[in-house]
């Protein structure tokens, strides 16, 4: 029987939204071939309390592996734990989330299992037993549809693309002792910057600022707009403002930054260069605010406002606040 395994990402004691997405996608895949859905949940002590939630998003069985070294993401320990678990059980397909953690983890697991990895899928389609994976290439300027001729088929899924579906369901929970091996990469220090803000690659709403924002001190209006959405939104940036040192590179959206697919993308003072569009054109809805009516960003925006960011954005934040609360 076909079995699909979802690697469930958790952090600081809660499942991440991408875990719901990965498990739901695994379920859809398993159902299309009459198979079973499994989820792998790794972490420190206590992580098993998250297992029922994975059941509600479609897992038949949740495998829980706890170890102190797994409390935080640690490449060697996680790669070893996942690879040896998959090797022991043998799945047809293993799904990861293409988050910063998943992008670090999946290729290591692939190499350990000696199977290829299809990264950052935006569409999965089964036909008989074949799995067709569609993924953006050339920074989103083209789509490649590929088939993996190996088992297990390793695929990572772009965050925010696969919609999580909650249902009434309970999973069987099975605990095991993960094989963690030795860790060669050591975390010397963690410098907390903005304190637990959502990553631009994973947020369902992204507000990006460009050179039209005129200076780093003027980001406050974008922060207020972000906060108006109540914790679902993250800030992004164009390369021009990252190069100018106004914003950190972690926020850069585009060909040499992050590729994002939020439900809502708001581009403020961004012209819409091809390399920027490459990173956000798969967003659900795109809003552009730009004072130049001929800016290329308006060609991809579902809704545009021609105007001065410093007049429009505070108004928008106010309207969203009134709406959300």
């Amino acid at each position: 029987m076909a079995t699909v395994l979802a690697i469930a990402e958790q952090r600081d004691g809660s499942l991440r939204r991408v875990a719901h997405e990965t498990v739901t996608a695994a379920r859809t895949l398993a159902e299309s071939v009459g198979g079973e859905t499994h989820a792998l949940l790794l972490g420190g002590a206590g992580v098993e309390s998250l297992a029922p939630e994975l059941g509600r998003f479609g897992a038949d069985t949740v495998h829980v592996g706890t170890a102190d070294v797994l409390a935080d993401y640690q490449p060697d320990a996680w790669a070893s734990a996942v690879a040896s678990f998959v090797k022991e059980h043998g799945f047809d397909t293993v799904l990861f989330a293409a988050t910063s953690t998943g992008r670090d983890l999946a290729p290591r697991v692939a190499a350990r299992l000696d199977v290829p990895l299809a990264s950052d899928a935006v569409e999965l389609e089964t036909e008989d037993r074949a799995l067709r994976i569609t993924r953006p290439v050339y920074a989103g300027k083209a789509m490649a549809t590929v088939v993996v001729d190996a088992e297990p088929r390793l695929v990572s899924l772009r965050p925010n693309v696969f919609t999580p579906i909650e249902r009434a369901g309970a999973a069987t929970v099975s605990s095991f002792q993960p094989v963690t091996g030795e860790s060669r990469v050591r975390l010397r220090e963690r410098q907390q910057a903005t304190g637990g803000q959502l990553d631009v690659g994973e947020a369902t709403i992204v507000i990006s600022g460009g050179r039209g924002m005129q200076g780093p001190e003027r980001w406050q209006i974008l922060e207020e707009l972000r906060d108006a959405f109540g914790g679902r939104a993250a800030l992004g940036a164009s390369r021009a403002v990252v190069d100018a040192g106004w914003r950190p590179h972690a926020e850069q959206v585009g060909q040499t930054g992050k590729t994002v697919a939020p439900a809502l993308y708001i581009a403020v003072g961004i012209s819409g260069a091809i390399q920027h569009l490459a990173g956000m054109r798969t967003a659900g809805t795109i809003v552009a605010i730009n004072k130049d009516p001929d800016a290329p960003i308006f060609k991809v925006a579902d809704y545009g406002i021609v105007g001065d960011a410093f007049e429009v954005v505070p108004k928008l934040a106010e309207a969203i606040r009134a709406h959300v609360t």
Partner: protein, 249 residues
């Protein structure tokens, strides 16, 4: 210190991508090729390490067709000491590219092997850590910089809401993202010197690959958008559309 930098020849990021008539490749006519931008960060990081230590060797390596020699010359012009062209056509399976690189680097005596975090054509973000695993070396991905102190590689890595400082004993693999440094331009002198630097060619040990490309297509065009209005007065209508039409808030 011996530093290897793995670089890939890719279409210029400004290039418009057109699908060729075979449906599985891009139309290369008029497309300029460059060193993948993240790989340039890796070259720059390698050159700075060598300069700082006052000794060492920087070797650029690629798996590619004869045309990829152009990108190796580019790396030599920036300042790399020599280059290796592993001849073969890299496909869509990064594991095979990794295998070819690992085979070439296994006994090369590298202290540090640098990669870009991803190649901007395949967008897989996988070859670096795969090589790390194959050579059984510690690997740090998506590093903004790399320093070497007492046989240890030290990197900053941006993570959600902060920065991690990671360390790994040499020899190690590091994949680079954009950090505070800009890759240097090749000077005229550098370009002249590059012509005389050694560029070794050998066949890549490249398997067939198990990721089969069925088709390439252009992303669906976004439907024609509209300008809702001008200035702050348009905000109310925008919010209504977001709520009622797009249903995103």
């Amino acid at each position: 210190m011996k530093i290897y930098v793995c670089i890939k020849r890719v279409p210029d990021t400004a290039a418009r991508i057109r699908i060729a008539s075979d449906g599985v490749s891009i139309d290369a006519a008029g497309v300029k090729y460059i060193i993948s931008p993240y790989d340039e960060f890796a070259i720059e990081a390698a050159l700075r390490l060598k300069e700082k230590q006052g000794e060492g060797e920087v070797v650029a390596v690629t798996v590619g067709s004869a045309a990829a020699a152009e990108q190796l010359r580019g790396a030599l012009a920036m300042g790399a000491d020599r280059a290796i062209l592993l001849k073969g056509e890299p496909g869509w399976d990064g594991l095979e590219t990794a295998r070819a690189l690992a085979a070439a680097l296994r006994d090369a005596g590298a202290d540090l092997i640098l990669f870009g975090m991803k190649a901007v054509d395949s967008d897989q973000q996988q070859v670096g850590p795969m090589v790390g695993e194959m050579l059984d070396l510690p690997c740090i991905t998506v590093a903004a910089d790399v320093e070497v102190e007492d046989g240890i590689a030290l990197c900053h890595r941006e993570v959600e809401g902060g920065v991690e400082v990671l360390e790994a004993p040499l020899p190690a693999v590091v994949t680079m993202t954009k950090g505070a440094i800009e890759p240097r331009y090749a000077s005229l002198k550098g370009i002249m010197a590059a012509k005389k630097k050694p560029l070794e060619e050998k066949d890549a040990q490249l398997g067939a690959g198990r990721i089969r490309l069925e088709k390439l297509s252009l992303p669906a065009d976004r439907k024609e958008g509209r300008v809702v209005g001008e200035g702050p007065d348009a905000v109310a209508e925008l919010v209504r559309l977001l709520r009622e039409e797009a249903k995103v808030i």
